[in-house]
Structures are given as C-alpha cells and as structure tokens.
C-alpha cells in the first residue's frame, strides 16, 4: 500500500519535473530562435516561402470558416436581439464578437490544426531523416535556416489571417442580417461603427492574434524539433502541437482579455 502511494507520488514528481524541464528547454529554444532571426530577414525569400506555406495555404479554410461563423452569429444574434426589440444592434454584436474574440481565437485554433501540424511533422521528419544533422555538419545552423524563417512566417501570417477572418465574418453576418433577414442597411453599419472602437477593439484584436502567432508557431516548431526521431515520435509530437497550441491560445486569450478589459 505504502509502496503504491510512494510510486504514485514518484510518478507525479517525475511528470512535473519533466514538464518544467521541457518548458525550460522550450524557452531556451525560443531565445535561440530570436537570436538567430537575422538570417530570415537578410534572406527574405526563405521567410516568404514559408509565409506561402503557412499563410497562403491556410487561407481557404480560414475564409470559409469565417464566412460561416459570421452567418451563424448573425442568425443567433438576431434571434436573441429581436426579443428585446434591438435587432438593429446585430451589426455591433457580429462585429464585436469577431474582432475581439472569434477572429483571433478561431484563426489561431484553425492555424494550429492546419499550419502548426504541418510544421511539426515537417521538422520532425527532417530530424528523423538526419536532414537537421546534415545541416549542422555543413556548418549551417538549423535554427537560423529552418526554424527562424518558419517562426517569422507564422508571426506575420497570423494577424493578417485573423484580420481577414474578422472582415469576412462581418461580411457573412451582413449577408444574413441585411438581405436575408431585412435589418436596415444603414443601421447595421452605423451602429457597428458607433460601438466598435478602433483602438480598444480592433488594435487589441490584432495584438491578440500576434501573441497567438508567436505561441502557436513556437509550439509547433519546438514540438517538431524535440520529437523523438521515429514515426511514433513524430505523430505524437503532431498531436501535442494541436493540444498544446489550443490550450495556450485559450489560456492566453483569457489572460489578455482580462488585462484589456481591466485597462
């Protein structure tokens, strides 16, 4: 009995130490990435290529999701708002929920699933097939050549994707609210503009998506770089990328929102 308790405690302790250790090596990896970032700007085509693979390739899923999210928001919002006789405020509801929350958060979650997993799998496989070692032996730092361009591509792509998500979502909401339900066109836009603040809402949304970009890309890169060089290791790392990115995004969202509303 006692031995079972002690082995359970040992298990917890081991996992805790393991987590802390991984977090530490993740932080060190992040610092190295920043230090070796010069290359990704001096040779911009490396970063541009990665923006193509992370940003442009994610466009379709992001835009289609945004369109549907906007339409659903308008339908649901209208349903509730008309009970209080304020269906004119539908534009505000759609725009605020998109710009403040759904735009950055849903984009980040989709990004983790679409681009994050691709990054992890690619880097994990590069490691498993000794491509990273080969680079090291050619006196080329894999962090400068492989990691940093992908990092900056993710960080640049995410706010752009989130802004497009919000914009397309608002258009989707508009299509449902104005032509379909028959809310007044003028009221839709003017109420929206009167209540969505450029600084507090739009800029904060961009800040959020920037932070999510850093977090999601970094997690994807680290998991790939840290993956055991086997098929199982890479597949586990890919799963961890999705789980950890999603948790990080939701947690960071709560923290940032509480600061932004408090301020």
């Amino acid at each position: 009995m006692l031995s079972k308790v002690s082995s359970a405690l040992r298990g917890i302790g081991h996992r805790l130490i393991d987590r802390v250790w991984r977090f530490g090596s993740g932080a060190r990896f992040f610092v190295y990435t920043l230090i070796y970032s010069g290359e990704s700007f001096r040779r911009l085509h490396l970063t541009i290529r990665e923006i193509y693979f992370t940003g442009v390739m994610s466009l379709i899923i992001i835009l289609v999701s945004a369109f549907f999210v906007g339409m659903v928001l308008a339908l649901q919002g209208y349903n509730t708002l008309q009970k209080y006789g304020s269906s004119d405020a539908i534009g505000v509801l759609v725009a605020l929920s998109l710009v403040r929350e759904l735009g950055p958060v849903v984009t980040a979650l989709l990004f983790a699933g679409r681009a994050g997993t691709a990054i992890t799998a690619e880097i994990g496989l590069m490691k498993a097939t000794e491509q990273l070692s080969a680079m090291e032996m050619m006196a080329v730092s894999p962090i400068a050549r492989v990691v940093a361009p992908r990092f900056w591509a993710g960080v640049i792509s995410m706010p752009l994707l989130a802004a497009m998500f919000s914009m397309v979502g608002v258009l989707g909401g508009y299509l449902v609210a104005v032509p379909l339900i028959g809310v007044d066109n003028g009221a839709f836009w003017s109420q929206m503009q009167a209540n969505v603040d450029w600084r507090v809402d739009v800029v904060n949304g961009v800040i959020k998506s920037f932070v999510f970009g850093v977090a999601c890309t970094m997690i994807a890169l680290f998991e790939g770089f840290d993956a055991p060089p086997t098929a199982e290791g890479v597949s586990r790392a890919t799963t961890r990328t999705v789980v950890n990115s999603s948790l990080a995004v939701l947690g960071l969202d709560f923290i940032m929102t509480s600061f932004m509303i408090g301020a």
Binding site: R49, G55, V99, S157, A163, S166, Q193, W198
Partner: protein, 156 residues
Amino acid sequence: MERTTIDLWVGIFAAAGAAAIFGLAMKVGNLTSGTLGETYSVSAAFENIGGLKPRAPVKSAGVVVGRISSIQFDNKTYEAVVTISVDKRYSFPKDTFANIYTAGLLGEQYIGLEAGGDDEALKNGDKITHTQDAVVLEKMISQFLYNKASDSEDKK
C-alpha cells in the same frame, strides 16, 4: 514551385491582410468617425459624475463634438475634474453649460454641452463653470419616497 509564383501569392496575401485590417478600422471600427481632428481641451468640475467613463462622447444638440480624455479626483474641493477634448471646428461660449446625461433610461452616460450667450469663446485649458451633476437613480428614488412620506405627514 517557382519562386515568382510564390512571391506573387504572398504579395496578394499580404495586401489582402493589410486591406482587411484597414477595412476593420474604417468600415467596422470608428477610425473615421470616432477620431477627432485637432482638438482643444477644457475641463469641468462635477460633484458627482455617476457612471461617466473616459472616452465617453461629448455631445451638443445631439451631435458628437468631442470626447472625454480623462477623469480625475480633486482632493482639495472633493470634486471630479473631467477633461474633455473638443473638436477645433466647434467653438462654444464661455458660459456654456456642461451636463451629464444618460442615453435612454439605462444607457451609457455622456456630457451634453448647452451653449450660453457670452461673446468670448472657450479656449484651450479653460474651465467650464456651469455644470450639472449626473442624475443618480438611487438618489432620485429616495428623494421621491422622502417627499411622499413628508406629503402624507403634512396631510395628517
């Protein structure tokens, strides 16, 4: 894939992203209507500002003419000092009234300016002397009840 094709797509992507941010600012947000041009600031002291918040609108005759830039507490007079930025295009006489109103019964609070008749106009850094406090609902209700009570006392 050819590098030029990639460049083209990334260019389109970046332009579309920038356009989306711009669109959010202009079409969805209030960057056009909400930001004022050049402003001058004047202050006004209130005994009670109720639920007035920084960045709340300042209206005159229902038109937004400025915004509240800051709210401070004056420890000497025990009053709230509200600084407001008014758009340079509008000028108000020195004896303008500043009242705190509520939009609707439970809406947000804003400052309403009612022009007086003075020849001199308010300048940057001036102080509006004629102010009226926010209506505090609880106060009104208790006053109403008190009056009712005293009315019935009188009748006896």
